[in-house]
Symmetry: C2
Subunit: 243 residues, 2 copies
């Protein structure tokens, strides 16, 4: 049975980390909120599932995954669950923990990237918090972004199985997420990302190899891959790309 | 062999979620950075471990746990790893996933609570971002805090094994973390937390029962429990406790 992915239909957002894993593995899935209302899909179907008061394990927010009767929220937990089925994590418990640890560190950077345009709160428009956003973006571009990327570089370089992969000797969901992170940072902060990535050649090579994986490349060319835009996590506001 | 917990010595912070699990289980552990320098401990020992360039799986930041040769970062991953050993999670994979999902949702709220006093960036002082902090705290107290607490209440009420526990019929690390979350919110936002918690009696009862567990109660009375203060995640700045 196909997995059901539930996420906001107009943005890549956090749903994209799950989508990339499903696509890279060639797994069958329905992107529910992007489906047709008259087929019982669409955003309304997602919200019905989210607000179903009979559901004992309701997610707090999208993305969430439905696999038969199982409903799972939180991006990193979804990936941790899917990975053995999709062969996107090594079998040992230690490798699974390390992969999850990397994923949560990526998630931390994703949240910080989001907060550059929403430092005062997600409930307000960017236009209502531009001065605060500029202050936060300065710290993000000058300190946080390089610090995180240097950490990713260090773990690529130190991978005992070599720098062709992020964890061990094969593709993992964390590697796909790192690809997406680089994509998002380059979109939102072209100058700051270029400067930081100049010091992390191992990360850039991982990104480039992921982009060339046949299933990923086909996905990126397809209409299933939404473009970045200014409603998502990674937004191109040139004034926030500060060197 | 005793676990080694590495975390900043002067604050509860994110390390407290791990400390509570170890204490509630009566597990032997060393709180490394709070130990004596001349015993090879202290903050310097923590930083040596954090910056050890020969370590293939370096943590990005404290807290991290050392268990023999295994080094694990990210609070939620540490808890996911420890829980089966400490009997703080049910055995089924589904229960482990659900517990982790709750933990990550608690972590999201913890991050948002932190950002009320550091909306512009963790690298600046609170005193340098007070107007921004006030704006963020307003949204946090009026919208985010109640929304999260209502979600926690809903999962307590819907627990198929009854509302005496958060997951199934026994204590889990997520329940200890929810206790700590309530403690922190009441410290930092006494008025806003009281108002939100008035609508979540199930969460309050869980909190109270955790506080009365003999090992937890003994820990809370001990010197090992650091007091809350204005260097941690939960800070009492009365101007940010907005109704």
């Amino acid at each position: 049975m196909a997995y059901e992915l539930h996420y906001w239909p107009g943005i890549q957002g956090r749903g994209e980390f799950v989508r990339l894993a499903l696509e890279a593995a060639g797994a069958p899935y329905t992107d529910v909120a992007r489906g047709a209302e008259d087929a019982g899909q669409g955003t309304a179907a997602m919200l019905r599932c989210l607000h179903d008061a009979t559901q004992p394990h309701p997610p707090f927010a999208p993305p969430f995954l439905k696999d038969g009767s199982l409903l799972i929220g939180q991006t990193a937990v979804i990936l941790h669950y899917l990975a053995p089925q999709l062969k996107l994590v090594a079998r040992s418990e230690q490798a699974r923990l390390w992969t999850q640890q990397i994923q949560l560190t990526i998630a931390d950077l994703v949240s910080e990237a989001h907060d550059t345009h929403h430092p005062v709160g997600a409930g307000l428009y960017y236009e209502d918090q531009k001065p605060e956003a500029l202050r936060r973006a300065r710290e993000f571009c000058s300190a946080r972004l390089p610090k995180y990327l240097q950490w990713f570089e260090s773990i690529v370089v130190r991978n005992p199985a070599g720098p062709r992969h992020l964890v061990g000797g094969k593709l993992s969901y964390a590697e796909l997420s790192l690809f997406q992170l680089v994509e998002g940072l380059r979109y939102a902060f072209p100058k700051a990302a270029a400067r930081a990535l100049a010091g992390t050649p191992g990360v850039v090579r991982l990104h480039d190899r992921v982009a060339e994986l046949p299933r990923v490349a086909a996905y990126l060319r397809s209409e299933r891959r939404l473009p970045f835009n200014e409603q998502g996590i990674f937004r191109r506001y040139p004034e926030l790309d500060v060197l």
